[in-house]
Symmetry: C2
Subunit: 138 residues, 2 copies
DNA sequence: TCGAACTGGAACTAGGTTGGTTGCAGTTCG
DNA sequence: CGAACTGCAACCAACCTAGTTCCAGTTCGA
């Protein structure tokens, strides 16, 4: 939803979008959208202006915002699930699994984020425009 | 927890382990462990034997079981969260976001799984042994 | 200066997921 | 026969997510 919202903002950079407009595209509701955009603002990806004629816009160029930025802004904590609680420290295996797994999982998560970092909001804007052109060309 | 369990089994291949033994290492309980090992069995990674002296063992060499295998066996569905429901199809952006995001997310998930596929249970067994040696060497 | 159009934020809800638990039936083997 | 296992269903508490309601604050134009 965060990436969808960013793409909406990236597609029309001159004017701000209201949370209601974004919510309409997401088939969701404005309050939820503001919550998400609020996280993106905390991460420095978007800016909001209050009051009438207010709304949301990107804080920097869509070419300088990657999917990884959005991911990091919205998703906190690791994505691969760790032990729900520390294993048995008296066990020769349990004693070490947390540290070993932590390293492996971090590497895997890093690989995923690296891939997310290769696509920008500008790319998505272009893709949606291209797909829309495909549709209307007929 | 699945990877931890597989490492337990990989460390002692000659005899079967009971779900109680694995649960002890995980500081969890046997039923939960059997649930997890059951998924791993469905995926062909482990075998179980019933009755007295029964238990669990690897279905193939620890060198031929990767973290990706364990991940695929236990975790169903995508890890990056998609739209909770389809966006507004009447919106020029919403109409295309699902397909566009699906492609990007699959790529990112593929990258993570590729990295998980590079580590085997045998690697983890070796790592835990090495760490244990580090401890007892003093 | 009022009121419409916005954001900001707290409080609450329904539904789903996760780790955990209990209880019991079935299997194996000494 | 009985101890030691797996297999399986049912249930529970805690937590998370998307969604909702309500209201306070800000801005700006008529």
């Amino acid at each position: 939803m965060a990436i969808h919202a960013l793409t909406m903002l990236g597609r029309r950079e001159d004017r701000a979008r209201t949370s209601a407009e974004v919510a309409d595209s997401l088939a969701s509701n404005p309050v939820l959208v503001r919550r998400i955009l609020g996280s993106l603002r905390d991460a420095g990806l978007v800016r909001s202006t209050e009051g009438r004629l207010g709304g949301w816009r990107l804080a920097r160029s869509p070419r300088e915002i990657t999917l990884r930025d959005a991911y990091a802004a919205v998703e906190e904590g690791p994505i691969l699930s760790r032990h729900p609680h520390p294993p048995n420290q008296a066990c020769e295996v349990g004693r070490h699994m947390q540290a070993v797994l932590e390293h492996e999982f971090r590497e895997a998560e890093r690989a995923m984020e690296e891939r997310l970092g290769r696509t920008t909001i500008a790319d998505l804007v272009q893709q949606t425009i291209a797909r829309e052109r495909e549709l209307t060309r007929r």
